[in-house]
């Protein structure tokens, strides 16, 4: 290979590093006035505050992680059964249509439509409400991926186990689960990210009382506190970067 591609790759690499560097640099800045490029002071203050026990941001991050793990866990579990049930159902096409619908719909508009019911059933402004609301957009995604995974040949393999004399339980535990362990992990981490990145739906259903990281970032942006916004931005991108490092397929997949 000649010089050309390397050069381009270097440019692309720089472009990719740029957002992360910006976030990181801004989180160390204080006072940034036009037309100066550098800030009036560099500071560790925000990072030190972050790790103090009473620190709000740390609490927010924990809340976010908790919510996302829960949403991911439930959608992975429920989605597994629903996806498989759907894949073998004669009305598969219609179920799929219904599952795609909330997945494609703008989450914040979905939230606006269902907010009334959440308020009615006491699910507005609390954790449970936010968990269920996020489940409403994460679960369809899980179902869609599982549905794509349970292709006829996959189903055949499971059937084979049955015809070879296994019980339903054995077929499920010894064949279905090992077959699908890859896709299960993918679904888990991707639904985790759907929840982790969600803003509009969380604000509408959580009324801003359930403070997740995205809500915090938005808060900092509206009060034009760009440095804290950058710091929370860093916190927001670290988990997905780690997940990517562990396995790329956790963030993008081929079953859709």
């Amino acid at each position: 290979m000649k010089k050309g591609p390397r050069f381009f790759i270097a440019i692309i690499g720089l472009g990719i590093a740029f957002p992360f560097l910006t976030l990181l640099l801004f989180s160390f800045m204080k006072g940034w006035f036009f037309p100066s490029i550098s800030p009036t002071t560099w500071t560790l203050d925000y990072w030190i505050q972050l790790f103090q026990v009473e620190g709000e941001l740390l609490q927010t991050s924990l809340t976010s992680i908790l919510i996302s793990i829960f949403v991911a866990f439930v959608s992975t579990l429920l989605g597994f059964f629903l996806g498989k049930w759907m894949a073998t159902h004669p009305w598969r096409k219609w179920w799929l249509l219904l599952a795609y619908f909330p997945f494609v719909l703008s989450p914040v508009i979905l939230a606006a439509g269902i907010q009334f019911f959440f308020i009615k059933f006491g699910l507005s402004g609390n954790f449970l409400g936010v968990l269920i609301a996020q489940l409403l957009i994460a679960l369809p995604y899980a179902i869609i991926i599982y549905n794509g995974f349970w292709s006829p040949s996959m189903l055949d393999r499971e059937k084979l186990a049955r015809t070879l004399g296994g019980t339903a339980w054995q077929a499920f535990w010894r064949v279905s689960i090992p077959l699908s362990s890859g896709v299960i992990l993918v679904v888990f981490f991707q639904t985790f990210l759907i929840s982790w990145f969600e803003y509009g739906l969380t604000r509408l259903i959580g009324l801003g009382k359930v403070k997740t990281l995205t809500i915090q970032v938005f808060q900092f942006v509206t009060e034009t506190n760009i440095f804290l916004a950058a710091l929370s931005g860093v916190l927001l991108v670290v988990p997905p970067l780690i997940l990517l490092w562990v396995n790329k397929r956790f963030v993008i997949n081929q079953w859709i």
Binding site: M1, P5, F101, G200, I256
Partner: protein, 281 residues
Amino acid sequence: MHRILSYINAGFFFLLIVLPLGGGLIYSFLYSIGGLGLLNEEISGKALLTIWEEGTFLKSLFYSVYIALLSIGISVALSLTLTLGIKLPSRENPYWMYMPLALPGMVVAFLMFQWLSRTGVFSRVMFQAGIISEITDFPVLIQDELGLGIIIAHVLMATPFFWIFFRGLYQTERVKELGGISASLGAQKHQILWKVKIPVLLQQGLPTIILYFLFVLGSYEIPLLLGQSSPQMLSVTIIRKLERFNLLDKPEGYAMIWMYALIVLVAVYAILSLHQKRKAS
């Protein structure tokens, strides 16, 4: 046993997917015609008439479609160029290619603001370099009339995704081999590119492209932070109608919800039909 399991599954599906969607749609519809709501006195098509006459919904819809079309068009073109134009040392995608996927819309919008606003990083660099001498010399890229800020943000998010996506397709659809066959049949290089490789990738990728188009159409954080006051994209307009300015506008907001939902429903149906047809053939 099997039947009971099936019922349980159907129950969950109904409870968590059908019910919220149906409930939301019916509620929005009833609210929009005045069948519900504290300030609604009688059933009337007033809200529907208003958004039709003032063009609120259509303006917002067209604006959203314009943003989504341009964003997706540019991203697909860029990512095809990257896929077909750059040969990476290995078939396996490197880690850095995936990194942009770790950026949520909120963060991208924030970054765009810090880079491209008139007092942003680029403007400052150009000022220091003497390319511009005043803040107003820097082009308006944020909250601008053409929605350039929104489009750039979406392109930054979608291009890395489509690059990885098309690279995957390139291998699974054996595009390279197809190119080889065409070459052996005497096709020219540019013919292979334009008549074989690009059409195959686009055709196979179409459902995903439409899906992504719908995501952009319904996007919220990016236009919220980077869009101008008016017109605005659908999600932003609807939420504003519901909770800002005038309480009597709430029915209009709900009317826009179900109209938008119906459009998405039709689009999803189209994608699935397309997908199924492809599988069948």
